[in-house]
């Protein structure tokens, strides 16, 4: 203990300048992330809601009457007593996996295509990056219009070839496919650009040498391209997973309130708890912490897996 203090003090005296440099960042992060997080964790152990939170409004004031309830909120969620957690979780995982697989798969395919020398390559690149430049909510509304059952462009096209109109956003199953399609459209460009960067960092000599040794294109892809992409892939898949897991706007704006609760993912459900009826601060905070923990566990596990793979090499 005393040695630690000594060490800290010594590091202060030698590196005081560095400490001073990072201080603003630490303060800003503390205010913007640390405080809300701490408050959220604290609330999740209480039974706080809109009605028992103290407030003073004009000549009307009530003291806070919420109490500490320990792990009750978590028990409610994880024991399934509250009824919506496991169905939501299953769909959230399904949604995340299918979106990330599609993002990565299509992104990789397009990146491979764009990595070749061809005419108009930069134009294609610009066009394919376009969805990334569109804000998520704009995309959500645009797709919502296209999916419209009566007047949407998709059903109009289907009508032209004599197919009956599809209820894109009404049928619980098709609804899910619809949102996955929107999110795929939105998420592919980022993956594509990242993978393209990764592809260009793979030394060309490797491919040439393999070709000399008579490797087929497929062998080259599997043994040179994919391993070469590993550092990029591992990072973007992790990022993509976290982003998709918490992809609030697409689900919320495209399906809206019509879908019932089956198509809601965990974050949109937590939002509803926080902003519906007598706002359940504690319940939604507990949900938030559960979501955070799930992602933390996943990230740690995922990094560990990658490290083991690296070590096995």
């Amino acid at each position: 203990m005393s040695s630690l203090i000594l060490r800290t003090r010594r590091s202060f005296s030698t590196h005081w300048y560095a400490w001073a440099m990072v201080l603003p960042v630490v303060v800003v992060l503390g205010v913007l992330i640390g405080y809300p997080l701490g408050r959220g964790i604290y609330l999740s152990f209480t039974d706080a809601n809109e009605a028992n939170m103290g407030r003073t409004i004009g000549d009307f004031s009530v003291p806070s009457t919420y109490t500490f309830v320990g792990l009750e909120n978590y028990w409610n969620i994880l024991s399934g007593r509250e009824g919506s957690f496991y169905p939501r979780l299953t769909w959230t995982i399904l949604w995340t996996v299918s979106c990330v697989v599609l993002h990565y798969g299509i992104g990789l395919g397009l990146a491979m295509l764009l990595n070749r020398r061809m005419r108009g390559r930069s134009l294609y690149r610009v066009l394919l990056v376009l969805p990334w430049a569109v804000p998520a909510f704009v995309a959500a509304f645009a797709w919502k219009l296209m999916y419209n059952t009566d007047n949407g462009v998709l059903n109009a096209l289907l009508g032209k070839v004599g197919v009956a109109p599809v209820d894109w956003l009404g049928d619980p199953f098709i609804q899910k496919l619809s949102v996955i399609a929107v999110n795929t459209w939105l998420g592919v460009p980022f993956m594509m650009v990242a993978i393209l960067g990764g592809l260009q960092s793979i030394p060309r000599e490797l491919h040439e040498a393999a070709e000399m040794d008579g490797a087929t294109p497929w062998q080259r892809f599997v043994h040179i391209t994919l391993p070469g992409l590993r550092p990029v892939s591992s990072t973007i898949v992790l990022l993509g997973t976290i982003w998709t897991f918490n992809m609030f706007p697409i689900i919320y704006l495209v399906i809206g309130q019509a879908g019932g609760t089956e198509s809601e993912i965990l974050v949109t459900y937590a939002y509803r708890l926080a902003f519906q009826g007598v706002r359940d601060y504690a319940g939604s905070a507990a949900y938030g912490i559960v979501i955070l923990s799930l992602l933390l566990v996943f990230s740690v596990f995922y990094r560990g897996m990658l490290n083991r793979q690296e070590a096995a090499k």
Binding site: G54, I57, N148, D150, G170, A258, G260
Partner: protein
């Protein structure tokens, strides 16, 4: 430790709210409004009014605001248009923190109880805002009460009625609008057979299913008996009627997203012959190509169930004053002005709203067939349960109603699930009966 934390939290919350709240310095409610009552011309300052009316209605309210400012040159009113479906949550957020809350808000009658329950609304009894209270219609006035206090001043009232396209009816040889749901379905069939126009399109929102339930003598809740009655035998029967209609080939399939807009657009464009909607939609109808000639719009009382009862829910809006408002005097004067018979008459004439004051039903207002029809419809309208968070009941209601109409759940299954959901989340102290 725990105590310390709670105390710290309370102190924090108090500090946050205290800085944001001016009000009248925690004075009693009586002191506010004295100036407005005794010397209204001396009141000055600016106030914000959150108006949730739709685009077709906006200009008329602007006109009223201008007239008010002319009468009280020292007061400035900022009319902020807030979208109806976001206003409830927006107001709750602002009211709780005291930051950015309006002085006056147009509250849907379904929100009043919830807001008042949380202490966000200023009781208006004895203030200048509530002027000649006996003049208000009893139905709308009852929606503005909470625990014996008046927390709003009725602005407009509305109910649902059957709107139909006279031209299409004439082509199909239909003499008078249907009076029961069975006739409604028969009429839709006749229209389709004779003219090729689809009969109707249902709006898949829970609120719009209420006439089917009321027609069977059923209701959502029995508030006095603390019972959830939404899955009673009568309600299931009513829901079956709605389903029969939705699944028939004479109705356009209810749109799963934005069902309201879809039905309204179909009706405006003359793609369907009948729709169930309220007086707020009339101005919008007149803008559609099917109703360029206003006389083509027919309005009739909501169809009745087999029991012979016809009833639709009472809707509408009240003016409420935020309890933390820094300028209550001006707010009271503004509400008084806006809810006066004269103002109500103007909005009735210009945008077809239904006044909440008996004295506003002047001959000039009742001469209009649309308003006369809705006034008759009001005579059979029913109040929704006045409990906090009645609006949230409808969120779950909408979801289950859509499922029933799509055929994903039978009426009985859907309503049972709905009753269970209400019971587990919103109405824990009710029994399902």
């Amino acid at each position: 430790m725990r105590k310390g934390m709670t105390a710290a939290a309370i102190a924090g919350v108090l500090a946050l709210t205290a800085t944001a709240c001016g009000g009248d310095g925690g004075g009693s409610g009586d002191s506010s409004g004295r100036k407005a009552a005794e010397d209204p011309k001396s009141v000055s300052g600016s106030i914000t009014w959150w108006d949730t009316s739709n685009e077709a209605e906006g200009p008329t309210y602007d006109k009223l605001v201008a007239a008010f400012q002319k009468e009280y040159p020292k007061i400035k009113v900022n009319r902020t248009s807030v979208s109806f479906d976001q206003a409830e949550q927006k107001f709750k957020t602002a009211a709780q923190s005291g930051k950015g809350a309006p002085d006056v808000i147009r509250t849907d009658v379904g929100w009043s109880a919830g807001f008042a329950n949380l202490g966000y609304l200023q009781p208006l009894d004895g203030t200048p805002a509530l002027d000649n209270a006996a003049d208000f219609l009893p139905g709308p006035m009852s929606t503005a009460k909470w625990k014996g206090e008046t927390v709003g001043v009725p602005q407009v009232t509305d109910t649902l009625a059957l709107l139909y396209n006279k031209e299409i009816f004439a082509k199909a040889g239909i003499a008078k609008p249907p009076a029961t749901w069975d006739e409604f379905i028969a009429t839709a069939k006749t229209v389709k057979a004779k003219t090729g126009v689809t009969g109707t399109q249902l709006n898949p929102e829970g609120y719009f299913s209420l006439p089917f339930l009321y027609g069977e003598g059923a209701d959502m809740l029995d508030v006095d008996g603390k019972k959830i009655t939404v899955n009673s035998a009568g309600a299931v029967k009513g829901m079956e009627t709605a389903l029969k209609l939705a699944q028939s080939d004479v109705a356009l399939k209810p749109a799963s997203t934005d069902g309201y807009v879809a039905a309204q657009t179909s009706f405006k464009d003359g793609k369907i012959a009948m729709v169930i909607n309220g007086p707020w939609s009339v101005s919008d109808d007149y803008s559609g190509k099917a109703f360029q000639n206003k006389d083509n719009l027919g309005i009739a009382t909501i169809p009745a169930g087999p029991s012979g009862t016809a009833a639709a829910p009472i809707g509408g809006h009240n003016y409420s004053v935020y309890r933390g408002s820094k300028n209550k005097d001006a707010s009271y004067l503004f509400v008084k002005f806006m809810a006066s018979a004269q103002s109500q008459e103007l909005t009735a004439k210009e945008i077809n709203t239904l006044p909440t004051r008996k004295s506003a039903y002047t001959p000039a207002v009742t001469a209009d067939p649309a308003k006369k029809a809705f006034q008759q419809a009001l005579s059979v309208a029913k109040s929704r349960p006045v409990i906090p968070g009645v609006g949230d009941l409808f969120v779950a209601f909408d979801q289950h109603y859509v499922k029933v109409l799509r055929g994903d759940a039978s009426p009985k299954e859907g309503l049972d699930a709905l009753a269970k959901e209400w019971n587990s989340k919103l109405l824990k102290d009710y029994s399902i009966g």
